[in-house]
């Protein structure tokens, strides 16, 4: 298999990489672009640690061959905070114990941000459903739910 050129945007910045077309987007982000915030947990689309947004939709980047993102806009965890200010969800995760080991955190934060963009006033049931594709082994989820609820409160204020 030969490498080929793929172009797309990541967090607003144009990127061009020379890679195997079937390489996983996850590996291209981490290895070619050094965007190591996106994590690998399972490599089969179960755990959500590798969540990114492609053209506004949240997906598991371990299941996406890089050839599929030609011309797309990708948003990773590195694109969630603005310059010097954390997103309300990130700030709430820090303050309320939403992260322990941190490996599920980038995916959790992206899934929560995605939820709040679609539904600014989620119920706890909405939060549970929106995060159902993201597994955490450390927290037992309680503090993750609490962090998202607090982020909603803070955004409202």
């Amino acid at each position: 298999m030969n490498k080929s050129e793929v172009s797309f945007k990541v967090n607003g910045k144009a990127q061009r990489v020379e890679v195997y077309p079937m390489a996983r987007l996850l590996d291209v982000l981490r290895q070619e672009l050094q965007l190591t915030g996106t994590k690998e947990g399972c490599g089969e689309g179960e755990c959500g640690a590798c969540s990114v947004k492609i053209d506004g939709r949240i997906v598991n980047s371990c299941l996406v061959p890089v050839a599929q993102v030609q011309g797309s806009e990708i948003r990773t965890i590195e694109g969630v905070a603005s310059d010097d200010e954390l997103h309300a969800v990130q700030q709430a995760f820090i303050e309320h114990g939403g992260a322990q080991c941190g490996i599920c955190t980038p995916g959790m934060v992206l899934a929560a941000v995605d939820l709040l963009e679609r539904n600014p006033q989620p119920t706890e049931a909405d939060i549970r459903t929106a995060l159902a594709g993201n597994l955490c082994r450390c927290t037992g989820y309680m503090k993750i739910f609490e962090s998202v609820i607090r982020a909603v409160d803070n955004t409202r204020r």
Partner: protein, 710 residues
């Protein structure tokens, strides 16, 4: 290996693979000893002519293109002449084949308090029961991995995801036959451990370093999920038998406990896991006569290892299911039976340890039952469940609990042997660095150490820096295991920084009343005038602690955390699903240093324990885990976990930092029996095995239905 046990006859390298581009390492390339130095040193780094489990590493391959590595691996053929194997603890005990030593037994313990044999005659009731627990995968979200750089001249450096840098250090010193200072182990950010990165990283680090040694290039070795699940350690499966003598007024007269764990193919940490399981098998009860026989046996599956709780969740599951059974036989409620037997100050545990701290299990029980609205629910569910028989409700509900304790720190004389050290060093810019080998793996080590140091010094948090665990830089503060980091190592942090403060006082650079900036200035002044300012603290056991390793009697742990967990469950008669609907976790853990982190530990542990009980089923076939994917080995997701309501009672412990006791493992112990006790309350059926899957519930239900229909 294609077989779980046998002689390696041949290894061939086929396919259209440019083999000369690859670095290949076999047992013959090992410069030092071919074993993972731990307890018995029986596990080889690479199989040398014989395999004892199907996932045993035989040879290592490296290439600069990782895609080619996988293709090459598929073209290596290992031929094994198969020999008889055993796959379960029953097969091992029955000596279906002798696969380890003379009798398949890694380790045995006998705890003998009072005289059990004389008690049977005077008993009003004798109650027996047998209980089993399955294997469980730690399933940290970040897989195991390491990077090695190695050469005969420079020595070996490994960076990796791990809990215990000095375990890896000890193992690599032997593997490479190099002096201590030529091996350097650096812990990188670690994405969860739960025990799964206690002993296994020694193997991966060695493999990466061996490849680096032979190739002369840095080597990165990262497991994918399937490999991590199939090859690395899991919780020991267990079987516990209880025989209990009770008087008609519900007092425990004698407990005979037989506890067996399946250690897998090599000894690894099984003796220590067995020890903790054995000591916790008698629980928080006062009983004059206790005899516990326990053993860890060999099977031809990958070695089982450390996992949060370390043997205690297994034996406590059995005990707390059995206590409900005994209560029923005696005719008491589960809570009343326990109340009559709870251990109190001045009474002794199974190992004859006199409890000298204040303990109030009855008080904890009262509060937990109140917080969970236990009595009202028990009554309401009984009413509603009986109506469900008439077809009105297909969902039955139940509530149950477990009462238990967990010892913090190494067992018996373990902490004395460890001789842990922590250092503190003041920098020229007035910061205080904490040097310890204890690792941050998500549980909050760095935060807790910063808090302890800043509180002991009375200075701002941001003046404290936690140095990255690096055996070239930090002293050995022991492994990050056994609920010991806050209580034992935290105390050393407190002592080390206190010594540093005393040095500044002694030098006349600090007066009694000082601010953070005074302290910073004093550090600067000291370093400028006298050179480095570094103090250390070494572990000192609390006074009057005595442990007899021969008889397994004495003060097993310096301190225990005490807890009562209450689970409310539902059981759907149509889908056979059991769900935990509400969970109350009440515990006394000494002083809580950080409420957010402490609650996070409890919630996370309870969620893992819910998985252990109702979700996580390792499916074995010929010694291999066959559901080694997150698609078919299911851990609880955000929609599966009930509200976990965490409460603390605080009772400062004199020998912990600021009064703290250990907390990390405790939450793994109580949920499983509480959930099954609740399910028995909901369904009337007594289940004695976990994981309890819907299939088992279905079988049981179908059986009952066919009996009813006759």
């Amino acid at each position: 290996s294609p077989s779980p046990r046998g002689k390696i006859r041949n290894i061939s390298f086929g396919g259209d693979i440019p083999w000369d581009e690859f670095t290949i390492v076999t047992a013959k390339d090992i410069p030092g000893a071919n074993y993972v130095a731990l307890i018995l040193n029986d596990q080889p780094y690479l199989a040398d002519g014989f395999v004892n489990h199907a996932e045993e590493p035989v040879l290592l391959i490296a290439h600069r293109d990782k895609y080619l590595v996988e293709e090459a691996r598929r073209n290596v053929r290992v031929e094994v002449e198969e020999q008889p194997a055993v796959f379960t603890l029953e097969e091992s005990l029955a000596k279906k084949a002798i696969v380890w030593g003379e009798d398949n037994v890694f380790k045995k313990f006998l705890v003998d308090k009072g005289n059990v044999d004389e008690a049977w005659g005077s008993a009003d009731f004798i109650v027996e029961g047998e209980y089993e627990t399955g294997a469980q995968e730690q399933l940290y979200i970040e897989n195991n991995g390491a990077i090695g750089v190695a050469s005969p001249g420079e020595g070996v450096t490994v960076w990796g995801s791990m809990q215990c840098p000095y375990y890896v250090h000890k193992a690599l010193v032997k593997l490479f036959d190099l002096p201590d200072e030529k091996i350097r182990i650096i812990q990188t950010e670690t994405g969860g451990g739960f025990g799964g990165k206690e002993e296994y990283p020694s193997l991966i680090a060695g493999h990466a370093a061996l490849l680096a040694w032979k190739s002369g290039k840095p080597v990165k070795l990262v497991y994918d999920r399937a490999e991590d699940m199939v090859a690395t350690t899991k919780r020991h499966p267990s079987r516990t038998r209880h025989k209990t003598a009770v008087s008609k007024d519900g007092k425990l007269l004698a407990m005979e406990i037989d506890f067996t764990i399946d250690g897998g193919a090599y000894c690894t940490l099984s003796p220590v896991v067995l020890s903790r399981g054995t000591i916790h098998a008698g629980g928080p009860y006062s009983c004059p006569n206790v005899r516990i026989h326990s053993r860890a046996v060999a099977t031809n599956v990958p070695p089982h290892g450390a996992f949060r709780g370390f043997g205690a969740p297994q034996s406590i599951f059995a005990l707390e299911r059995h206590m409900d059974k005994v209560a029923g036989v005696v005719g008491l409620t589960p809570e009343e039976f326990r109340r009559r037997n709870f251990i109190r100050e001045g009474e002794t545990t199974a190992t004859s340890q006199v409890i000298r701290e204040r303990v109030d299990m009855s008080g904890l029980l009262d509060r937990a039952l109140q917080l969970s609205d236990y009595h009202a629910k028990r009554e309401r569910f009984a009413r509603e469940n009986s109506r469900s028989n008439g077809g009105q409700f297909r969902v039955k509900r139940g509530i149950g609990f477990a009462t238990f304790m967990h010892g913090a720190g190494f067992t018996g004389s373990g902490e004395v042997y460890l001789q842990s050290v922590v250092s503190a060093e003041a920098t020229i810019d007035g910061k205080i660095q904490i040097l310890a080998a204890s690792t941050e793996i998500g549980q909050g080590t760095n935060t807790i150490f910063s808090q302890i140091a800043s509180e002991a010094l009375g200075v701002d948090f941001d003046m404290i820096e936690i140095v990255q665990p690096d055996t070239g830089r930090v002293p050995n503060s022991g492994p990050t295991v056994a609920s010991r980091t806050s209580m034992v190592v935290g105390k050393l942090v407190e002592s080390a920084v206190t010594a540093l403060k005393q040095t500044l006082f002694g030098a006349g650079l600090l007066s009694e009343r000082y601010t953070s900036s005074d302290f910073r200035a004093a550090c600067r002044e000291y370093v400028t005038r006298f050179g480095p300012l570094k103090t250390s603290a070494t572990y000192q056991p609390p006074p009057n602690v005595y442990w007899d390793d021969e008889k397994y009697q004495g003060d097993a742990y310096g301190a225990y955390a005490w807890a009562v967990y209450v689970a409310e469950v539902s059981y759907d008669e149509l889908t056979y699903e059991a769900r935990v609907e509400d969970f109350v976790a009440l515990q006394e853990v000494g002083r809580v240093i950080n409420p957010v982190l402490a609650a996070g530990q409890i919630e996370g542990g309870v969620a893992q324990a819910i998985g252990f009980t109702l979700f996580e089923n390792v499916v074995w076939k010929d010694g291999r885990m066959v559901n080694n994917q997150m698609t078919n080995y299911i851990i609880p997701t955000p929609v599966d976990i009930p509200p976990i309501r965490v409460y603390f009672e605080e009772n400062p412990y004199a020998y912990g930092p600021g009064g703290a006791k250990g907390i990390g493992e405790l939450p793994m112990d109580g949920a499983a029996p509480a959930i099954l006790n609740a399910l028995e309350n909901a369904t009337g059926a007594s289940f004695t095995h976990i994981p309890l899957m819907p299939e088992t519930l279905m079988e049981r239900y179908e059986q009952e239905r066919s009996l009813v229909q006759g």
